[in-house]
């Protein structure tokens, strides 16, 4: 003992040689930190580029151009028999009213082609707007009112500056005379830009200016609901059984490996399975959130099982021992103590699994949720589409105005994902137990 102590060389303060080694060590450490910082910066820059480009393209989707016209709600056209019955009012030709208003506004336009162009300033969806206004207030009939009508997508694009005046006329969607009319309307202060509520309240449409994402949102909601009620209980129960009750043997090892493998299976495969199982065998309705939800549940299950098992395993054995030591049965120990304690973790995993499902497209394409559906689905068996598929559809559409719609829908989808992930983080922060 004392020999060893006597042999020990005391290091003392660093000599020159030691200083060199120290300097090298510090240098490597600084370099490593710089490297890490650079990586973070690059990642942030890429992310920022993505966000900036989406927001830059998409923010205008939330703005809609409208044109104010003096509309004469002529009794002759709308309700010649003066019945005021809803059927008559619904069937009336509001298009004529709009056309008349435009003719009155621009009396100089006479030629057929020019008139078509002129009528084209107003969106086809404006008819619906007028109809709703008259149905809500039949007293409008017989009066003349200034009325804001949705402009067509080309006008919208022009006002937002996506169509330039400098382009040669043939390559321009807005022709010269249309520009003259728009300028005149602008001088009369008849062109406004408004917040685009229809984007959030309407279903899909061939007309970009009236296309909305509510249908897709509701579809996503139904699909996720089905996914949740199928995958959550099954996932949690399997996790509990595997963690707490199953014997540790070859069979459970195989099951465990397979669950981990399933989590890595490409989602398109789940889509094919969905087609085979739910459509061809069970004959469930195509394009329905029910089938989409079931398919996504297949995909989400492994994620939930893995998350749930990890969070059950994170509950310290001392809690199980405490319960068992007091004479609780195994099941009581699990359901009274382990499950409540692991629930925040399980829910976090579930939310992350669901947000994955929310962003999933491929398997839904397989089961036909890619159809063009105007109506907002009223139940899980109605045909529907979902947000990412809607984005896919719009991105595929030729109209210029769908570009901003696509980005707008992406923003909506992203904000849902951010919201869900934030919920998961909050849940974890709030209920996390420190042992």
């Amino acid at each position: 003992m004392t020999d060893i102590q006597n042999q020990t060389n005391k290091a003392g303060w660093p000599t020159n040689g030691a200083n060199k080694i120290l300097a090298k060590r510090h240098r490597t450490e600084r370099n490593f930190r710089r490297l890490g910082l650079t990586a973070i910066l690059i990642a942030m820059a890429l992310l920022a580029t993505l966000l900036v480009s989406i927001v830059g393209k998409g923010y205008s989707a939330f703005i809609q151009t409208t044109i104010t016209l003096d509309i004469n709600f002529e009794q002759e056209i709308l309700d010649p028999k003066d019945t005021r019955s809803p059927e008559t009012l619904k069937a009336a030709s509001y298009g004529s009213v709009i056309r008349n208003a435009l003719r009155t506004e621009f009396p100089e336009v006479k030629s057929r082609i020019e008139l078509r162009r002129l009528f084209g300033l107003i969106s086809k969806g404006a008819v619906q707007e007028l109809r709703n206004a008259v149905l809500a207030n039949p007293k409008l009939i017989g009066t003349t009112r200034a009325f804001e009508l949705t402009a067509s997508d080309d006008v919208d694009m022009f006002i937002k500056g996506y169509i330039s005046r400098d382009v040669v006329e043939q390559d321009r969607r807005i022709k010269n005379n249309e520009i003259v009319w728009i300028d005149r309307l602008q001088n009369q202060n008849a062109i406004q830009t408004r917040f685009n509520t229809r984007f959030f309240t309407g279903g899909d449409s061939r007309e970009p200016e009236v296309a909305g994402i509510l249908g897709a949102m509701v579809g996503s909601l139904y699909t996720l609901f089905i996914t949740f009620i199928i995958s959550f209980p099954i996932g949690v129960m399997s996790a509990i059984y595997l963690e707490e009750f199953a014997p540790k043997n070859k069979l459970t090892d195989v099951i465990e490996v397979n669950i981990n493998n399933l989590a890595a299976v490409p989602s398109i495969v789940f889509g094919l399975l969905g087609v085979a199982l739910f459509l061809n065998v069970a004959h469930l309705p195509r394009s329905a959130p029910l089938v989409g939800g079931l398919t996504l549940a297949l995909m989400t299950l492994p994620t939930i099982i893995i998350a749930a098992r990890a969070s059950i395993r994170a509950v310290p054995g001392s809690i199980r021992n405490a319960a068992l030591g007091l004479g609780a049965s195994k099941q009581q120990a699990v359901f009274h103590h382990v499950l409540p304690l692991s629930l925040p973790g399980i829910l976090t995993g579930t939310i992350i699994g669901l947000s994955q499902a929310l962003g999933e497209t491929a398997p839904l394409l397989m089961i036909g949720m890619v159809a063009f559906i105007v109506d907002i689905p009223g139940g899980v068996t109605d045909p529907a589409t979902v947000l990412p598929v809607q984005i896919f559809l719009w991105a595929d559409s030729p109209e210029r105005a769908f570009v901003e719609k696509t980005s707008g829908a992406i923003m909506v989808l992203l904000s849902f994902l951010v919201f869900m992930n934030a919920a998961a983080v909050l849940l974890r922060k709030k209920f996390e137990q420190r042992w």
Partner: protein, 252 residues
């Protein structure tokens, strides 16, 4: 006096490894028996045999007879859930449930249906806390979470929780190893008080603790009991040189 627990030729295997080799030990009623010995000597294993907590470990096999209060507890007719209510256990690390103090203590009466109504349950909880000497400290905050207490209080809460199951025997697996000396002293004081109504078996790494609180001491080494006897005798003039060497700090 007839011993309340009598272990006869008890062997325990974890898979192929033998952890206890034919242990014989009689534990007298209303006394504190300390099990001491170096780590891995089988003392905790033996303790966990007494309430069949070893059943929860996979691959664990127990041979021999353990008679508690006249019945062989490894008899298939004995329900281990009921046994564990009669033979309570307190663990090394204080492990209150992350629930209110009240719910912690009320847990055992609830699952065993010991209380017929809310008043009875209240009384049981208060009585158990009182017995554990914790009532005065927590009376005003019964509905605070149990893990908000200090380490020593948490351990006494765990003892109160075990007492609420109305046991006859309490097993303690190094109950003070995570506590500071003052908290340890309070727990030891409590253990001595409990001796009047309970039989206590305590595994401890602190020889001083065994000497201070126990009446009987058993020294385990390599899965066997080397020496068992009155504590004062074991600590003043042990008969076996291994016991001597261990308690004086010469090996282990």
């Amino acid at each position: 006096m007839e011993p309340i627990i009598s272990a006869k030729n008890v062997s325990v295997y974890y898979g192929k490894k033998q952890a206890l080799k034919g242990v014989n030990l009689d534990i007298p009623e209303n006394q504190i028996t300390a099990l001491i010995g170096p780590s891995g000597c089988g003392k905790s294993t033996f303790l966990r045999c007494l309430n069949r907590m070893n059943d929860t470990i996979e691959g664990c096999r127990v041979e021999g007879d353990i008679i508690v209060d006249g019945k062989d507890i490894y008899d298939p007719q004995i329900d281990e859930v009921y046994l564990r209510a009669r033979v309570g256990m307190v663990f090394q690390k204080p492990n209150p449930f992350p629930k209110s103090i009240y719910d912690n203590v009320a847990y055992a009466p609830r699952i065993h249906g010991l209380a017929r109504n809310k008043d009875e349950l209240d009384n049981m909880v208060l009585a158990s806390l009182e017995k554990a000497g914790l009532l005065a400290e927590v009376q005003d905050r019964l509905h605070e979470i149990g893990t908000s207490l200090s380490g020593g209080q948490q351990q006494r809460l765990c003892i109160a929780r075990a007492l609420a199951a109305q046991p006859d025997i309490i097993l303690m697996d190094e109950p003070c190893s995570a506590l500071d000396p003052i908290a340890t002293a309070k727990v030891e004081e409590l253990i001595e008080e409990l001796r009047a109504s309970y039989t206590i078996i305590i595994v401890t790494h602190s020889m001083q603790q065994a000497a201070r609180i126990s009446q009987q001491t058993a020294f385990f080494h390599l899965g066997e009991i080397v020496e068992v006897g009155k504590t004062e005798q074991v600590f003043t003039s042990p008969q076996d040189s291994r016991t001597q060497g261990y308690i004086t700090g010469r090996f282990g």
